[in-house]
């Protein structure tokens, strides 16, 4: 309020004296809508300050919400044109929200941002219909986190990069004993897992086709690990990402699947050595999907040019270094990933090799505007296949029938 008053006064004054050109340089406050836990706030603020250091006329004001709430609030704000100038976006939500963002391609062309500096899979993840809508700050594939101490105690070799599903299953079996499990399954395993095995959940028209033989088969393989072989506890329909990581940290499960974004938290919680490995492959070659998040510019923003200047700093090399070194994000900027490998992940075996292997074998992460709905249904319905109350086919056709 105060700022806009000052701004208005500045505008009037400048037009009075016929020096309207200066109005463009008047201080601008750019709002930035972001998620994060209390600790993150300091990091984000650090990035916001970077912007002001480089552009003293631009002040970035952070609006922080919790991760879940962010997605409750965003559509409501968007529906009434109240979104911030800079909007944070996760690649998997892009199909729902790209309409509230401005395409960045023209801005990028005019600036010295080089698309090739970023990991390609996440650049396409933040694009829609061939247009880029956000610049990424982090990226990561889903991968297997494992308890190295348990592997050693069981006399197991550490996983090879191209290990197969059968290797994974044998390993999980060897680690399941004395009331602890070899593997702790979560909802997203039933998406990333089958893809790595070579299955497709979409048809050629980019629509859900969950009951195709290939997907049912790959899905069943993962479901059977829990339902038939009892190698994993059942996850609950309302469990959040912490269910498996919590059990992993307490030593109750030896392996679980998650992204590099959780590594820093995982490390802080455990008192054993963590290793990471790619997802197991099927009979074909390895292939992985990646996700990540970035920042775009609201289509309703009044300060688009200032916002893009700020955006360049927020996704610039220095910011990537800060986030990488703090372990908050595996930078989407390839050159800065090393800060993450050598900083946050230095005590974790094989992060650099594994991730570089995985980035070399990515497959496009296919999504559409029903993706969010699909993920919620997976969370809600898959447990029924894990307890054996229903067959994998039954569950998949239940989910499919609700994605009209």
């Amino acid at each position: 309020m105060k700022h806009s008053l000052i701004f208005a006064a500045a505008l009037t004054a400048s037009s009075l004296f016929g020096i309207s050109a200066q109005a463009l340089d008047a201080p601008v406050t750019v709002t930035w809508q972001m998620w994060g836990e209390p600790n993150d706030a300091q990091l984000w603020q650090q990035l916001a300050d970077l912007v002001t250091q480089q552009y003293p006329d631009i002040k970035v004001k952070l609006q922080l919400s919790g991760w879940t709430d962010y997605w409750t609030r965003l559509p409501v704000l968007a529906a009434s044109g109240q979104v911030a100038d800079i909007v944070s976006m996760q690649s998997m939500r892009m199909p729902n929200f790209y309409s509230i963002l401005d395409p960045l391609d023209d801005y990028v062309k005019k600036s010295d941002v080089k698309v090739a500096d970023f990991e390609t899979s996440i650049m396409s993840g933040l694009s829609q219909d061939g247009k880029l809508y956000a610049l990424p700050y982090d990226v990561g594939p889903w991968m297997v986190f494992y308890n190295r101490d348990k592997f050693a105690a069981a006399g197991l070799k550490e996983p090879a990069k191209d290990w197969t599903f059968d290797d994974f299953k044998t390993t999980a079996k060897a680690l399941t004993k004395d009331g602890t499990y070899g593997y702790g399954t979560q909802a997203f395993d039933f998406i990333a897992g089958p893809v790595a095995l070579g299955a497709e959940y979409f048809n050629a028209d980019n629509e859900f086709d969950l009951t195709n033989a290939g997907f049912v088969d790959a899905f069943s393989k993962y479901a059977d690990l829990t339902a038939k072989d009892k190698l994993s506890p059942v996850f609950a329909s309302a469990s959040d990402a912490s269910a498996a990581s919590g059990r992993f940290a307490s030593g109750n499960v030896a392996m679980y699947i998650d992204g590099p974004w959780t590594l820093i938290t995982a490390q802080a919680n455990v008192n054993f050595k963590i290793g990471i490995a790619p997802l197991p492959r099927g009979s074909g070659p390895s292939r992985f999907i990646t996700a990540g998040s970035g920042w775009g510019i609201s289509a309703a923003s009044q300060h688009k040019d200032a916002a893009f200047k700020a955006l360049q700093v927020l996704t610039g090399p220095k910011a990537a270094e800060i986030l990488g070194a703090a372990g908050r994000a595996l930078p989407a900027r390839l050159a800065q990933q090393t800060y993450w490998y050598d900083g946050a992940a230095k005590n974790v075996a094989g992060t650099r090799d594994t991730l570089q292997y995985m980035f070399a074998h990515t497959t496009p992460f296919r999504i559409n505007e029903k993706w969010n709905q699909f993920e919620n249904l997976v969370m809600q319905y898959v447990p029924v296949a894990l307890t054996g109350d229903s067959t994998p086919e039954g569950v998949l056709s239940d989910i499919q029938s609700q994605l009209p």
Partner: protein, 284 residues
Amino acid sequence: MTLKSKARARRKLALDILNHAALLLVALAFLFPFFWMISNAVRSNAEVMAIPVRLLPEVFEWGNFAAAWTRLPFGRFFLNSAIIAICVTAITVVVSCLSGYAFARLKFRGREMLLLGYIGTLMVPPLMLIIPLFLIVNRLGLVNTFPGVILPVAFGTFGAFLMRQFFLSIPMELEEAARIDGAWRLRILVSIIVPLSMPAIGLLSLFTFMGQWSNFLWPLIVMTGADNATLPVGLTLFQTQQGTQWNYLMAGAALSMLPGIFLAIILQKLIYNSIALNAGMGGR
């Protein structure tokens, strides 16, 4: 005879003690979830998820309370919640007394229909009104302001109905005497009716206050600024993209419950009296 009656008295006393003890056990069992909340608040996050579960933590981490308090601007959240809850309560009480009085004492055309309309709105699922409400608040330019979060929830119809029911139970004669003196309606309400209605006002205030203290979805959507979050909204900051910090979440939840527990204990007599009134009015 005295022997017999003594024996009977003793038996009765034993039964009484047994009766109290049995209910005491039930009450303790009933309190268990509170214990469980505290017990999880003072252990490490890994231990919350540990199997097998221990009733008491291996290591008591009492620092979690302080940590939860300092990792978030908890004091600020407390203040925000208090401001909102108190303002909503004040507006609700004033408006409900005025409306309730009109329904109870004033004769006007369409009174019964209007009252029925008021009661009918109680059955509208509030979840559904959130989006249109937000659009209105936005049109009024009140997003991320205290009036924006307070006003839309301060005009419930339940209060008017509750106060009407109570006012009906106050003898008309008291008021008519004052009328003859030429006292004005509003003065009657303020100086005669309201002082007699304290139990009902107390009940309304308590429930409005507690309802707002724990309100979640509405403040979440309206208060976009990080510093403007209320307690329940602030608590969810512990549920992150990387997982949930159960111990801090529990510690924060326990802290946020304190005012409620405090009020419940301090005001237990008022609560009982007010609800007793409600019980008496229930059928009317």
